[in-house]
Point group: none
Chain length 201, copies 4
DNA sequence: GATGAATGAGTGTTCATTCAT
DNA sequence: GATGAATGAACACTCATTCAT
């Protein structure tokens, strides 16, 4: 009954290809990812991928878009909208050091895409866009919190930038020098350090 | 006098190949780097590279070793050994946010290698080693500083880990969301935040 | 009329490739046969051969299939279906010592493929199949002959096996120790010996 | 004390290389055998093999010599020199169908070398020599046996040729169509058939 | 006798892509 | 929308061999 896989349209196929491309990158790295492998994985012909994306570069850009879109979704899922200002500030900071945010993407995939950004202007542009958006989200949140009273921060934009730097360093590098057993304690210490850095600012 | 290129020995050729390999990665990314391109760049035959490294994996591992070795050298160049404890603590932190440390390697190259670490155990092992070494250097330095008086930090090891997280996030990601004109000010703010995080610890 | 070489389909190209592969093996031996040489011979690109066969092993297996198929065809061409039992028995034996059967394939090619059988299970399997089929053909023929009367053989299966052993030794090795001038006489003597061995069985 | 492997002379090294070359052929086939693999197997430098044999062809020829020499040795070990003529005739025939003779060399290796004979004149020449020698040994033996009485054979040379054909077919091909359990019975039947063929001659 | 440096041709295979169907 | 034929460049790597040491 169900004519699986045959004769689908772009709306279904294109994101499907992008997802599979991401999987291949995770398994084999950027240098090991190819249109052929994506096709084999999906049981379709490589030419069909070209048919949809024209060339590999377009596929990479589509992948970056896909990843950024997912990051936005996860942020919206995690953000806490109620409670007193002090609690909400801590919650905001905690998001970026949470398991959910950490596990949002695969580090191998992240680094692969980041390594592209230097040579592929469209990738670089999209990453800047993403960070701009994220900064804006944090700033907006901070301003809402501060307006409600008590806490003051001289420069919310700078505060947002410091948060981003801290969590990126934490997120991408901690597994190289933190041991499994110490992970939860380190997470808490990082949040405390971020709060100290923030309110000192 | 100097019969360049012909009949050299492993001691000269191997590091030369590694350096050229790194250049190719910077220019074309991990996915664009090939033994053939390195050979062309050097005016030698690809098989000579195989002669020295047996296969591409070994070459990659040698590159990681080379990069790590350079990081160690730069750290030793930058470390300040005299002055009162307070000044020296700030100098230590400042190293990791300095232009010299930031410019030590190319971010594209860094990400390329980091993206390998998930799939190549030898790369992962070496990176862990490097971070362990770096942590140890910082801890040693912190302990010396604290012993001389005044400043106290509950846990120097944790302090080192927080410094590393902060500077890694700063170093690798800041260019995505900090504008040129604001760079110097941001650098100072990050150092201040790091100090706050540290002494709060 | 005939736009040779361009845009053909698998039905035409695949056997064409197999035939050319066989020729290359005859000329240069298994150790000298390469996909590149086959392609050059056909005026096509090596990757087209990969396109059809995926890898060299598959090509080898296809070649073995091709050779075995040809052996079956030749047997069917040579088999005599009429005459009295005694004559027909002799005709059957004579087939395997005939020029046509001897010249069916090139010995160099035979040995090349036989040498593969130890390391390539699919080649071994196909050779066993071929011998099973041949044995069955001979047994069937012997039984028909015996049923019509006169001649008796205790065990037709064993008789078939002995015939095969004798003609294989004759076919593959005689040229190492029989001189040209003596060839025809030796052929007759071998047929006589086979008959003696058979009816003695 | 024992300076193993270092600084040996040609008398020791050359046969050692040939033996290792044979092993590589057995494991990887003619098409997979290379000087490099032999060298790695022996823990020496490939250049050293070239140093001794100048090129690969010479090594192959040396291997054929080695194999033929071993065949001669085994024949001499197996030949029975006493007993009555009838028993000795049967013993002679039985040699070539014996396990010892069958297992004298690896079939994969045999076929690999036989496949070379068509393209390498020196290999072909040596094989012919070997068969000539073998034929001569058998003829001599048959004549001794016949001289002692009883048994007559019209043409001992032809008889030798028939024996060779039969055992070669048996030796090289039987494993494709004889099952393990039937092997011993088949061996006896082949000997009987050979005797019948012989005394009928 | 033995090794290392170097070459250059050649291996099988992958790759992105184009074109016709 | 989807596949197959075809290409040509590139890939990592192997090979036999030469030469200098």
């Amino acid at each position: 009954m169900d004519t699986i896989k045959k004769r689908q349209n772009a709306g279904v196929r294109k994101p499907d290809i992008v997802r599979n491309f991401y999987q291949v990158i995770l398994e084999e790295g950027i240098e090991g990812a190819s249109i052929g492998k994506v096709a084999k994985r999906m049981g379709i012909h490589p030419s069909l991928i070209i048919h949809y994306f024209q060339n590999k570069e377009n596929l990479i850009v589509a992948l970056v878009d896909y990843i950024i879109r997912r990051a936005g979704e996860i942020y919206r899922e995690l953000i806490v909208q109620s409670g007193d200002p002090g609690t909400r500030l801590r919650s905001l900071v905690a998001i970026f050091f949470s398991e959910a945010w950490y596990g949002m993407s695969d580090l191998g995939g992240d680094f692969a895409i980041l390594s592209l950004s230097g040579r592929e202007p469209r990738v670089d542009a999209r990453l800047r866009e993403m960070y701009a958006l994220l900064k804006q989200l944090i700033v907006g949140e901070l301003e809402k919190i501060f307006k409600e009273g008590g806490i003051t921060v001289r420069d919310p934009k700078r505060a947002a930038e410091i948060i981003i730097s801290m969590y990126e360093g934490y997120r991408h590098f901690k597994h190289f020098y933190i041991e499994e057993g110490d992970a939860e304690k380190f997470r808490e210490d990082m949040i405390a350090s971020a709060m100290a850095a923030l309110t000192n600012n």
